[in-house]
Symmetry: C2
Subunit: 218 residues, 2 copies
Amino acid sequence: SRKFAVIGLGMFGASLARSLYERDNDVLAVDISKDIAQKMQDFCTRAVVADATDRDTLAELGLPDMDVVIIGLGAPLDTSILTTLYLKQMGVKEIWAKAVSDEHATILKILGANRVIHPEKEMAEKLAATLSTPLMMDQLEVADGYSIIEITCPPSFVEKTIMDLQLRNKYEVLLVAVKKPGEDTPIMLPTPDYVLRSGDVMVLMGSEKSLEDIFGKG
Amino acid sequence: SRKFAVIGLGMFGASLARSLYERDNDVLAVDISKDIAQKMQDFCTRAVVADATDRDTLAELGLPDMDVVIIGLGAPLDTSILTTLYLKQMGVKEIWAKAVSDEHATILKILGANRVIHPEKEMAEKLAATLSTPLMMDQLEVADGYSIIEITCPPSFVEKTIMDLQLRNKYEVLLVAVKKPGEDTPIMLPTPDYVLRSGDVMVLMGSEKSLEDIFGKG
Ligand SMILES: Nc1ncnc2c1ncn2[C@@H]1O[C@H](COP(=O)(O)OP(=O)(O)OP(=O)(O)O)[C@@H](O)[C@H]1O
Ligand SMILES: Nc1ncnc2c1ncn2[C@@H]1O[C@H](COP(=O)(O)OP(=O)(O)OP(=O)(O)O)[C@@H](O)[C@H]1O
């Protein structure tokens, strides 16, 4: 298990602290509001009331021992900006910070945030990919231009075999797995004679160009 | 290309409208603020100034023809709640709505939202998984308890072959691809004698239990 501190327990920070704690990590949760810190008590290792822009208070929290310190502060921008500076100066190993705009993200990175998170924007971009490919359920980018996608079997593929569809020869797309409705265990690397059925979820790997050629952008 | 409407152009709605438009979809962007609608003009097919809680105005926008209508409205809750009701009543095929809390999400679903999105919470849960597995870079859930993960080659695996590691025999984990630093094209289904190098990104598929056994929760 790893050690984390989450500073600023808004929707993002509070959800993150809880999820990390549920995964058996050590979580220190910090907020300026007594109410909010109190609500967090059962969902983290330790909840502390503190003003993150107060350097002395911050110094007492043992933050350099943490694997990652995540800043979940929102507006005004100067709170997260100051906190990032202080964390960098006290030698915190890894700093992640929530940004509310592109400019804010740039500033945080320059001051030392190793990763900047923009929940609304990142979720929107992820969803745009899913919405644009109607049958697509999820996607993982392997490399620039290469993805693994999870897609419901299109009507035109039902009752065909991988061999019929020539996925590998014609498109260089690999059918990595098939998840059948009602079956818990996916079929890993189905053989070329596997017959696709309606409702099958296909997990495919290939270049985004090939995947688009096959399934289209919708 | 598909047809979308995004109602409410906050950070989430605006990013979504732009991303969808960049992917060559038809995007109608709607906001009550003239300024915001105007800023959107070059980044969507059409930007309209409208109050989404005004049923008559909403009826003139051709929303039932859309593939999906996405509500990006924030607080107060009644705005998105009313809009969801109206969209359902006018027969919009698919309604996605941004929620600001679990209760809000429940209400929207009952009223007819096909999918509810909670950006801060969903990003937080995704990041908690990545943070808990230190070398992990991304994850795609294939089925309940089965995932594809993207993970940096751990030091203990460097200079070993897949055969040495017995991934398939011992753990039933499949090495689906390797992305080498500096090489654009990933190696799909490396052969058992492939030697792992420092910096290699491994894409593995298997049960979450096996993946945890191998890589640990950190
Ligand atoms: N100086 C500070 N020190 C510590 N905590 C602070 C400080 N200022 C604000 N906070 C806390 O940070 C939390 C997040 O702030 P806020 O709600 O403004 O952000 P937000 O952008 O709305 O967050 P989210 O989108 O995650 O809900 C609040 O719980 C607030 O009490
Ligand atoms: N009745 C309405 N009809 C249309 N648009 C509206 C209405 N009420 C508010 N909006 C618009 O919805 C947008 C999003 O609202 P708001 O900024 O409150 O949400 P938010 O939760 O902060 O969003 P985000 O987190 O995505 O930034 C604003 O641009 C606002 O002008």
